[in-house]
Amino acid sequence: MEAIRLPDTLQGAIILSIIDFFLSFVIIAGIGVVLSLFPLINRIGQKPAQPAAERDPAPTRPVAPDGIPAAHLPVIAAAVHAVVRAGHILRIDGPLPGSSWADQGRARLLAHAAGAASRARPNEPLAPPSGSTDA
């Protein structure tokens, strides 16, 4: 079969340009479609999600009334005792509500007081505990 050759004329240049430009668009668009399928690669090797009825019941852990796991309580208590030298932990709250500058300022003051307490010598008076940890 004889190969079709473009004429070496202005018309040939225009034909070449039109075919090349639009074919490039089509092929690049095709590459875009292939790339849009790439997130499917991330599913390879993942286990299919089990139906809810077949799932093992979630292990129940003792949780403190404030939503803090019971296992974390002694760790938190030890950390508080080490920092503010509190005698008894009565209550542990979650993070400070809100993110206003006032709350952030309080949090910073508390951290400063706690830091000062941890650096204090044993006989020095401690900064009064304040904030969310009552001792």
Partner: protein, 376 residues
Amino acid sequence: MFSEILAFLGALYEQTGIAHFWWGNMVMIAVGITMIYLAIAKHYEPFLLIGIGFACVVANVPGSDLILPGGLFWYAYQGVALLIIPPLIFLGVGAMTDFGPMIANPKLVILGAGAHLGIFVALIGAKLLGFTLNEAGAIGIIGGADGPMAIFVTMKLAPDLLPQISVAAYSYMALMPMIQPPVMRLLTTKAERRIQMAQMRTVSRAERIAFPLVMGFIVNMFFPPVAPLITMLMLGNLLREVGVVDRLARTAAGGLMNVITITLTLAIGSTMSADRFLTVQTLEIVALGLVAFVFGTASGVVTAKIMNLFLTNKINPLIGSAGIASVPIAARVSHVVALQENRNNFLIMHAMGPNLAGVFGTAISGGIMLALLGVR
């Protein structure tokens, strides 16, 4: 005896460069020094312009053996002529490039085709100026703004034009920070230039590893004429992404790339001798190259604006011009122009998507061109 001494001195004088020095050499030496100045003072692609400028100066000192057959610059040029250097450049580029932005936002790859109108404007312009169709195709590929691809396609279509085309391509790529911004500002409003784009999704390691394999397959399957370049680009990227051959990736992107860059710039600069370069044909090619870059930039921006008509999350049209290729220069230009409008608008990663797609766009255009012209 006195006449013999004069004859010997005359012969000695003939062997020096002074006897063959003409104003053309002066002009080209000035061009070389200007390139070096732009690299040092303006930081316009110093990695390219220092070597090209220096070799241009040396090539225009008559009598320099470096550019003659057997000289070091001549051997450097053989690496270009035998198509050894362009694929190795692509290997290094692949090892340096994060294709994540292109994978993360597939719809932007269309800009990689949209920004190549310049190729065809230059092609038709070259034909109007009397070049053959093969020569016109080689001149048009300057608009792809991809140096190795321009060299590759030119060696296939019109090897005689390699010095002019490679110099035009690399010079304009280096000068993109001057060429593109006026066109970009002309075609966009202030509000469009201030558009901030949403954060891209994270691309997983598995996707990054799959990308070079998939693209290597596609290009070899559909575009064998330009496959050597893209295949090496993808190999370099695979070395980078697998994470188990860091030493090879570092070599490809570092030491090897530096050696190849020095060789390439010396090879290109050494072809800029005045007797070969100061011709009407060169001026025509240089002018067509500028036309190609301007139209490529413009068509990329316009394509992005057309896309915005259909998209709910608008894209900043400035990233359209990055589709012209020239990684990462064009993406950097988009970023800088956007930053001048809004100091908090960081477009670089968004612009890298179309910028990388532009490399594939140039390869596809070149591959189709070679196929239509019956060249392999």
